[in-house]
Symmetry: C2
Subunit: 194 residues, 2 copies
């Protein structure tokens, strides 16, 4: 490969207090494995003088990064609930829609259903065997880390979600799974270029 | 338009106890407005004799429906947390990635930040003015219904999310917002064909 492949760095990392520092850590790791990282906050300096509303400006900047990227790594660590951050999940769908390679990790090793069971009242339907939550909505029981659309999008590309049981205080900062994704991506791209 | 446009019907509706009946209600409304509805469970009969794992079979069936659809309507009602169902959000990203028209409704009229504030400990950072949750992660404060990637994807297409304050017992069955999306879609498509 003659040019440095670009990786879009998706995740709730942007909500951290030191979000910019996290981007720098991830971009340094990308460089170590022969990639260039594109981080959603890279445009930060431009944001305050934009002539469009700030949320639209951020959306357009992320879309621009995603279209420029050759692949993406998603931090799917559950965020304020049993599932991954909604913005990150949107971007995963967007990349799959574009037909680009996706890799992902989560810092929570549990199955989705175990988190849902712990978060509130659940019951098993005697007739069908389905698990249901307090609203009567069925709970997926496939042994996946998240909703099946998420897990299967990655499985279908032969890059299943890498699950890593991070320490609670490092839930949103542990980069073990991120680095495993980088190694996997480097291997996939080098085998494609030979 | 010479053929009937196909609408993919995305949402946590598939988790309802009477999920198939909900699909029939939505498809009948689609037909009333001149559309054909494609519902994720339409393949139900095939599911049990598939030679692949069931979650992968469902994923592939949904992808097939999404690729066949001309547009989609998303039920973004918050699901087990402050944000929409993760599978639905994945599909929204997928459609936007494909460049197809998307419409959406939610049966919760509140802003994302108000749901997050009510769900747990939050505090305002005196220095930056940012709201942060108990994990120290910032909370978006743009007056949006959900993560900005979701709201802005729809805003960018000039079909902002339709918010409807459904009664609590009809949170996942009220179709007022869905029908408003159908009317909007019918108007958009008829103006494009003239």
């Amino acid at each position: 490969m003659t040019r440095v492949p670009k990786i879009y760095l998706a995740g709730p990392d942007v909500f951290l207090e030191d979000a910019v520092a996290m981007g720098q850590r991830k971009k340094a790791l990308c460089a170590h494995y022969g990639f260039e990282g594109l981080y959603p906050l890279d445009d930060n300096g431009e944001r305050n003088r934009a002539d469009v509303r700030q949320d639209l400006f951020i959306y357009r900047a992320c879309v621009t990064h995603m279209r420029a990227a050759d692949l993406a790594i998603f931090n799917l660590t559950p965020f304020r609930g049993a599932s991954a951050d909604a913005g990150t999940v949107f971007e995963l769908g967007y990349f799959v829609g574009l037909g680009k390679p996706v890799f992902a990790y989560t810092n929570d090793a549990e199955d989705l259903i175990d988190r849902v069971k712990r978060s509130g009242e659940t019951a098993r339907d005697a007739a069908t065997g389905d698990w249901r939550d307090a609203m009567g909505m069925s709970i997926e029981d496939f042994g996946n880390a998240d909703n099946l659309m998420i897990d299967m999008a990655l499985y279908e590309q032969h890059h299943p979600i890498i699950r890593h049981a991070a320490r609670p205080e490092e839930r949103f900062t542990d980069l073990t799974g991120f680095e495993a994704c980088l190694r996997h991506a480097a291997k996939v791209l080098s085998s494609e270029s030979t």
